[in-house]
Symmetry: C2
Subunit: 347 residues, 2 copies
């Protein structure tokens, strides 16, 4: 293995959570970029904008007035992709035209009353409140729905249409593709090796050290060996934990602190409020609450779109959509990057 | 089935090529958009730019001078993601850290000597030449590589970094994820139903008529029942055809004509040069050339990013990356759309 410098030669890496491969072609970072340049994130966001439907005291699309909230604030998405009462499309008339019922709820949670703040700028105690609310949401919606997806789209580049700091929660009557794959693959690992995949993985990464971004007593942040997005990270508890509500108060404090450190590191990388999509994957709920789900380990994925500066993103397009995901630098190289200068390999 | 208006209620649809599901939530088009606005494509591209490395007579990154080509022009990508001689990373030391060798070649093919032209603006006979070159590429690279991915990223929005009309060809020593899934699922359909999946599908769509965009004697273009991108299409031969080189000269003429019509329709939709990523999937090559691949049907996928105007795109972000792909209007609605006015459901 020593004779193969992973950062010099292209190769494939296996993603054991998805059961798929990613093409790692290190030398592509030398390619000059003449394509689309991204606009930097807006900088003069007003702290309070009475016309923004996410602000305290504002009127939303359904006519309701938001309370003058002082911490987090949860409400039903006014344009939900999932509603509780959609009818069942019934049996398919042909195997190539299969449909299934989809029911659920979509909620929005504001993190803070101010529009000009983001998670890394909030106090650790305020982040802890967000974590407590996330855990409550799993407890509230979990009994009814097999999957409760908590996610944050941050930045216009990630399709976020409102600068006010918020996340979304979409709970569904079905197990979506990604958690379905994660369930399958964790189960296979558990039965073949008698170990929880991501507990074993965290231990390995803590020993190998080359992909560790941050750690504390309870949490580990790594650029996963199989990362597809340039600065993708995986946030893992060190202990075996199935779901967010299972975290102790101490573990939540440690999580708030590691989140603040990770997101500050992201912001510092290119000296902008760093865009990303992130979300939590814990053991499925609903009927699965009564099953043995020991093969699962709680984790969060961070998927940031940027490649080598605030204005050059990675496009997952032609080859990636039609064949397989491809990255232009190795996960190990990313771990040794502290800012834009390190990435300018071509200048 | 009549009692369930598919365009009114959210539901899941099954993608039989990938074996995955997509969430269709029709009513989301009513959502107002306050997020990122896309820049319209550049309009004043010079016909000939001596500093553009793709133009006839230009110098490329490797120092070579392009010939004064008058039709198509093929050359090796100067920043290849795949190279023929990458070493084998060897056996993994742990099941969670698996690598595989990746070898291949990356080529670029210019469609035309002019920079200010696109496929839909080219003559049918010129498009036919492109098709002939594609077929030749499969014949040339196929014997050596199990997969030859021909794809076009069109428009800055799709990560294209050069406005000169061109496509790429990445041939690899491995079968990538997407064709691997297509192979598996077509094989399963073939053994369970004794019919070629996409031949059966084309026949069904031609009868049902609700998702047909264009057709002629040899080809059919549909918005597939399981489309994830708003204006995604699937281009299919009516006859059972394994690979591009198997097309008769008449079928290539018909393909050139249907491509011109499809791409013109796309350009007219929002009155801009329509961005997309497209690519061909035919039966795998290399060692598979000697196997029975009758379960395969040649097809092309078109994945355009726009949602409801030249400046509002669909973001596949948080929920889509972490859970499952979601679309905001039904494939049937798209088929009855002839332009921007039809899509303004919210005004
Ligand atoms: O090779 P290009 O056109 O420079 O690059 C483009 O297409 C590639 C293949 O889909 C992607 O990996 C790149 O992210 C994209 O910018
Ligand atoms: O719900 P939002 O923030 O308006 O919309 C955003 O997130 C959704 C969930 O990932 C996506 O489906 C949309 O394409 C994106 O623009």
């Amino acid at each position: 293995r020593l004779s193969f410098p992973l950062s010099e030669h292209q190769h494939l890496r296996y993603n054991p959570l998805r059961g798929s491969w990613v093409l790692v072609s290190a030398h592509r970072m030398k390619r000059p970029w003449k394509g689309q340049m991204e606009k930097p994130p807006e900088e003069d966001i007003p702290r309070h904008d009475p016309t923004n439907p996410l602000c305290p005291g504002s009127r939303r699309a359904n006519g309701e007035i938001n309370p003058n909230y002082e911490s987090t604030f949860l409400f039903d998405n006014d344009f939900p992709a999932l509603q509780p009462d959609a009818p069942d499309p019934g049996a398919a008339d042909h195997p190539l035209f299969q449909t299934r019922a989809a029911r659920g709820v979509c909620k929005v949670m504001c993190f803070h009353p101010w529009s000009d703040i983001t998670l890394p700028l909030m106090q650790v105690s305020e982040i802890k409140t967000v974590i407590d609310k996330w855990a409550e949401l799993i407890e509230e919606l979990g009994p009814k729905y097999p999957w409760v997806q908590i996610f944050e789209n941050k930045g216009a580049m990630m399709g976020c249409s409102n600068p006010h700091p918020h996340c979304q929660v979409w709970a569904s009557s079905f197990l979506p593709n990604e958690p379905h794959l994660a369930d399958l693959n964790q189960k296979m690992h558990w039965s073949s090796r008698g170990e929880v995949m991501l507990v074993e993985y965290a231990r390995q990464e803590a020993e190998r050290k080359v992909r560790v971004v941050l750690e504390n007593d309870s949490w580990l942040v790594v650029v996963p060996f199989w990362a597809t997005w340039p600065f993708q990270t995986l946030l893992l508890p060190r202990r075996h934990v199935l779901r967010l509500p299972d975290l102790t108060s101490q573990e939540r404090d440690a999580l708030a602190s590691v989140m603040k450190r990770l997101l500050t590191k992201y912001d510092n990388l290119f000296e902008i409020s760093f865009p990303y999509s992130m979300g939590w994957h814990g053991a499925p709920t609903g009927p699965h609450l009564k099953e043995d789900m020991s093969h699962w380990q709680l984790h969060a994925h961070y998927y940031p779109p940027l490649l080598r500066s605030a204005s050059v993103r990675k496009f997952m397009v032609g080859y990636e959509m039609l064949a397989l995901e491809q990255r232009d630098l190795t996960p190990e190289q990313v771990c040794h990057t502290s800012g834009r200068r390190d990435l300018d390999t071509d200048t």
